[in-house]
Amino acid sequence: MGRYLVRRLLLTVPVLVGVATLVFALIHLVPGDPAQSMLGEGASEDEVVQLRHRLGLDRPLFEQYRAFLTGLVRGDLGTSFRYGTPVTREIRDRLLRTMQLAVAAMGVAILIAIPLGIAAAVFRGKWIDHAAMTLALVGISMPNFWLGPLLAILFAVYLGWLPVAGTGTVWHLVLPAITLGAALAAILARMTRASLLEELRELYVVAARARGLSRLRAVVRHAFRNSLIPIVTIIGLQFGAVLTGTIITETIFAWPGVGRLLIQAITFRDYPLVQGCILFISLTYVGMNLLTDLTYGILDPRIRYD
């Protein structure tokens, strides 16, 4: 187990360095002069030179790269061009909102998907199964940037039950959480069904059925618990998709999180902030995947990294 953990951790290091390098390179992909692009066409030569100096773009590339990595290790992602404050502070101020949304979305997804997946597996081949799986496919095909406005039209505009955007009460969280969680619910429902069907073929379930247990009781009492490992893994691995989804969901519902901050930073060509947000989201994703892999390794001792 110990060797597995160490190898898995070591394998993450080159990925982290690669991600940081790619994010560092982003600002150098800006066509023309990034400082000029941030200040706009009307900026004077002096202003451009000053900003180039502030961003460190007038230093040799290798030195910039070294400073970027050193800053990263210290938790310093530079200064936001628009706000004039440290990028890490801007992200930290909005992190709680993004996490609230992500966790609520995953909760919604689990609440919808698990019963749906169980029903589909228990009534395999019946209309419930077909309906549940068609619903799941519709959920996967329905883009969140359409589902969000549709839910807003129905529940905020026509019915007036929920607020259309913003923050303040727990009710503000409902529509964004459903919007963000729908696709994950669809994937989870399919996974739950597949995993349960696999488990239902096992001998211990057949034995339980032979003892007179109904299919539903055999599922709930025996098969479901063992089918949880792949389901938990998918939940962990899908956290990245949820994080990316926050970018669109937060934009739709004016939710003041990191995703919305990224889009605002892009609009204002605040490249240090864009770099910081991209780096933060991708590093969180890598961290979650690592955590999922390690948990998987602990839950199932048969897994070894060879």
């Binding site: 080159p14 390098t21 505009v157």
Partner: protein
């Protein structure tokens, strides 16, 4: 399901090819006096915020969506197949180098890297295709690499090598074809992914720029009129969802045929 998928995709292609000729309205023509007008007999999907016919714009937008999907899937699959087969067939350092690049690109969730690339390169249709291709080839490379790892042990591949066939010939003629069925399935599902990604980028203002009609930009425009003109949001979203559903049905159906074990 596969038939429904084929039907949806066929209708969408037909709509993109001949649809604009069937409607009397120019997708760019404005009738400001009738802006935000709801669906009627003369304009079945209504008019947008500048008084343009939404149906005409949807039909023009279908071309953009399908073109982006096709371009992204074609380039991504060719690049991915080549690099994946080289990594799997040769192994060693080449495999290590390609696999590390794949690992790094896969460390960016969803379309985050595409958002980052378009953010720095500037919003345009070409940059959207470029950004989606940069993240798109990775999936094909991983898939083909695993197939190539198996294929190099096949007797017919070893026989070709024994007969003196060079590495490029073995890879192109013998290894790659073993991966084709899986690649076709992935490409079909990839069309759905590329269409959603293009629409998402355009929705965020990072993709196709107005006045070019794109389903994503149409949805973005609808956001400001949720209260007074919901049809601006309903129809473009419906078009995206149906087309994506069509490709998903088709991809799922093809996968079941390629690997009957999955058709459970």
């Amino acid at each position: 399901m596969i038939r429904v998928g084929v039907a949806i995709v066929f209708i969408a292609v037909l709509a993109a090819l001949i649809g604009p000729a069937l409607t009397p309205y120019d997708p760019a023509a404005q009738e400001l006096a009738r802006r935000l007008e709801g669906p009627s007999l003369s304009h079945p999907f209504g008019l947008d915020e500048l008084g343009r016919d939404i149906l005409a714009r949807l039909l023009s937008g279908a071309r953009i969506s399908l073109m982006v999907g096709l371009a992204v899937v074609s380039v991504s699959s060719i690049v991915g197949m080549l690099l994946g087969s080289i990594a799997g067939y040769f192994g060693g350092l080449v495999d290590d180098a390609i696999s590390r690049i794949v690992d790094v690109l896969m460390a960016f969730p969803g379309i985050l890297l595409a958002i980052a690339l378009v953010a720095v390169l500037g919003p345009s249709l070409t940059n959207v295709v470029l950004a989606l291709t940069v993240i798109g080839w990775v999936g094909y490379a991983r898939l083909v690499r695993s197939q190539a790892l198996r294929a190099r042990e096949f007797e017919f591949v070893q026989a070709a090598r024994a007969l003196g066939a060079g590495a490029p010939r073995v890879v192109l003629r013998h290894v790659l074809p073993t991966a084709f069925p899986a690649v076709v399935v992935q490409a079909t599902l990839g069309m759905a992914g590329a269409i959603i990604a293009e629409a998402a980028l355009s929705f965020l203002g990072l993709g196709v720029q107005p006045p070019t009609p794109s389903w994503g930009t149409m949805l973005d425009a609808g956001r400001s009129h949720l209260f007074d003109a919901p049809h601006l949001t309903i129809f473009p979203g419906l078009a995206i969802a149906i087309l994506v559903l069509g490709f998903n049905f088709l991809g799922d159906g093809l996968r079941d045929r390629v690997d009957p074990k999955l058709a459970k």
